[in-house]
């Protein structure tokens, strides 16, 4: 178990190192890194000062080590627009994003799991077909379009909900629904296939042979096992939601990290863009590591298999 954990942690570190090399070289291949850190129209002396400050006048390998050293110290550069450290800005915005992702996740699980389970129980009926159509629609609709349609109907025509901002829980409904939409479809699909697999297993057959009522078989024996993979995916997806919310947050002007990324793009504020992307990578690698270790803890085959 210990060996397995150490190996997984090493893989995660390698991933992060490669990620940092990718971003580092991308910045240098596509242009002048000093120009990205400076305000638009900066003079040559200013650029020189920035090069000195970030060590950009040194050899490329040394530059990389300076880059990583700064990252490890938590120095992600200063926002050009807000003039404060980009990491502070990111951490200020993170709670709003987590709140939005949590509500969106709750919506997607509350709809996805029951519909998926019921589709599997009533496989190939009209309900199942309806579920299939719903799932494929969910994966085909861009979340920002769902957002725009919601604004049009609920804010413009019906005047029920505020179209943007973050005042009270009413402004949370539409962004959470647009963000949760795609994930609802994904969770539904997984719940359905997991439930189908469970229903075909030996212990469910045994439960039926014992003469248990259908309700007991489904809710007591099958449901719990079918939900496990969905909840695992939900854990990973929660982190994914925080990171892909950029369009939804910009449509609804929700003050999270996605909106921050959008501002970074619009104001050509590269330190902010870089911070958001890097932190997203760190969170993603982290949650995958946790899931890997948890799985190994639960399932000995993974622990000894490798």
């Amino acid at each position: 178990m210990q060996g397995y954990i150490i190996r997984r942690v090493l893989y995660a570190i390698v991933s992060l190192v490669l990620l940092s090399i990718t971003i580092f070289s991308l910045v240098r291949v596509t242009g002048d890194p000093a120009a990205l850190m400076a305000e638009p129209g900066a003079k040559e002396e200013d650029l020189q000062a920035i090069r000195r400050e970030f060590g950009l006048d040194k050899p490329i390998v040394l530059q990389y080590f300076v880059f990583v050293k700064n990252l490890l110290k938590g120095d992600f550069g200063k926002s050009i627009y807000y003039r404060i450290p980009a990491l502070d800005l990111y951490l200020q915005r993170l709670p709003a994003s987590i709140l939005l992702a949590t509500v969106a996740m709750t919506i997607s699980l509350l709809i996805g799991i029951p519909v998926g389970i019921f589709s599997a129980v009533r496989v190939n009926t009209w309900f199942d077909n309806f579920g299939k159509i719903f799932a494929i629609l969910g994966l085909s609709l861009p979340s920002f379009w769902v957002g725009l349609i919601l604004i049009l109907t609920l804010s413009v025509y019906l005047n029920w909900l505020p179209s943007s901002g973050a005042e009270g829980w009413t402004s949370l409904i539409m962004p959470a629904f647009s963000l949760g939409w795609v994930f609802t479809a994904a969770h539904m699909r997984l719940a359905r296939s997991a439930m189908l697999e469970v229903l075909g297993s030996e212990y469910i057959k045994l439960a039926r042979i014992k003469g248990l009522s259908e309700r007991l078989v489904i809710f007591k024996h099958a449901f719990k096992n079918a939900v496990i993979p969905v909840l695992t995916l939900a854990g990973i997806n929660l982190v994914l939601m925080v990171n892909v919310a950029v369009v939804v947050e910009s449509v609804f002007a929700w003050p999270g990290v996605g909106r921050l990324l959008f501002e970074g793009i619009s104001f050509r504020d590269f330190p902010v863009v870089q911070t958001t992307v890097l932190m997203g990578g760190v969170m993603f690698v982290g949650v995958n590591l946790i899931v890997d270790i948890l799985y190994a803890y639960i399932d000995p085959r993974i622990r000894y298999g490798n």
């Binding site: 893989y11 596509t30 604004i151 804010s155 950029v246």
Partner: protein, 304 residues
């Protein structure tokens, strides 16, 4: 092809039901083809190719006197601008028609680019093994550590906007999905007897990869590519929506949505509803076709 495979399994029941006339065979084969997605994609291709003849107006030049005209069926709508005009007086229908060209170009080219890159690296990784495998797979892991959209945004911020750069970016972001799957298949393929025989017969590694491995993984690559078309189109729309994708005044659907956002509160619904509807239909068609193709190319799923 479908029918001949059914007969070849020796399933008497299936064979009997296919003992029809030649036309009967063709007809029953056609029944399983997904009509709806093919129809949508055919329309898309037709529109994209003949955009110059179909579009009633210039998509990039508007008439400021005719701003925010509603579609023809609403009050103040006219047949001159069937689906209305935008904030610069440009014809929405013409922009949608030319937008089909961009979506098709980006979706298909990006999938082919990513597929070629990912399949090549996947085959090399699986077949060569050793440090080549380690390097490519660790790179794939690192690449997959970022959500595709975020990664694409980072690329797009650093490069100049434009549709060819978007294709390049989508290819560079999405190759990993092919590499993973293809590598797994190559690992089992290279242990097969015919590959070993080829090695014994003195075939070069390049020749084995090209003539013996590639044809056997092509099916999976095409399935992923079909499913990936929808992802590419949505990602392009997202980048354009955020202002780092296709550059204005080009009529990309995602860009049209972004421009239509400001008119939303005033009730100019056609600016954002119509382009979104186009994106949805095309992505839906690509997803359905990809799903059908996945099942069709896998005899186990086809339940033969």
């Amino acid at each position: 092809m479908e029918t001949s495979q059914v007969v070849a399994t020796g399933d008497t029941f299936a064979a009997q039901s296919f003992e029809l006339t030649r036309w009967g065979k063709v007809a029953s084969g056609l029944q399983r083809v997904p009509i709806f997605p093919l129809l949508i994609l055919a329309t898309l291709i037709f529109t994209a190719v003949t955009a110059d003849f179909l579009a009633p107006h210039n998509p990039e030049v508007g008439n400021l006197r005719y701003r925010y005209r509603p579609p023809v069926w609403q009050d103040k709508g006219s047949w001159e601008y069937v689906l209305g005009t935008d904030h610069m007086g440009r014809d929405i229908l013409s922009r949608l028609i030319f937008g089909a060209r961009i979506s098709l170009l980006v979706g298909v080219t990006a999938s082919i680019f990513a597929g070629t890159l990912g399949t090549t690296l996947g085959i090399m990784s699986g077949f060569r093994g050793g440090w080549v495998d380690q390097v490519i797979m660790r790179l794939t892991d690192a690449w997959l550590a970022l959500p595709g959209v975020t990664f694409a945004i980072l690329f797009a911020v650093l490069m100049q906007p434009g549709k060819w750069n978007i294709i390049l970016i989508l290819g560079l972001v999405y190759w990993t999905r092919y590499a993973r799957v293809i590598r797994g298949e190559v690992l089992s393929l290279k242990e097969r007897d015919y590959v070993r025989l080829a090695t014994v017969a003195g075939c070069s590694r390049a020749k084995i990869m090209w003539t013996h491995i590639l044809p056997n993984v092509a099916n999976s690559a095409i399935v992923i590519a079909t499913l990936q078309i929808g992802v590419s189109i949505i990602t392009e729309a997202t980048l354009s929506f955020l202002g780092v994708g296709v550059a204005p005044p080009e009529p990309a659907w995602g860009l049209m949505l972004a421009e239509g956002k400001s008119g939303l509160m005033a009730g100019y619904w056609w600016l954002s509803v119509l382009p979104g509807l186009c994106i949805m239909l095309v992505v839906l068609a690509a997803n359905l076709l990809g799903d059908w193709f996945r099942v069709w190319s896998d005899p186990q799923l086809r339940q033969l």
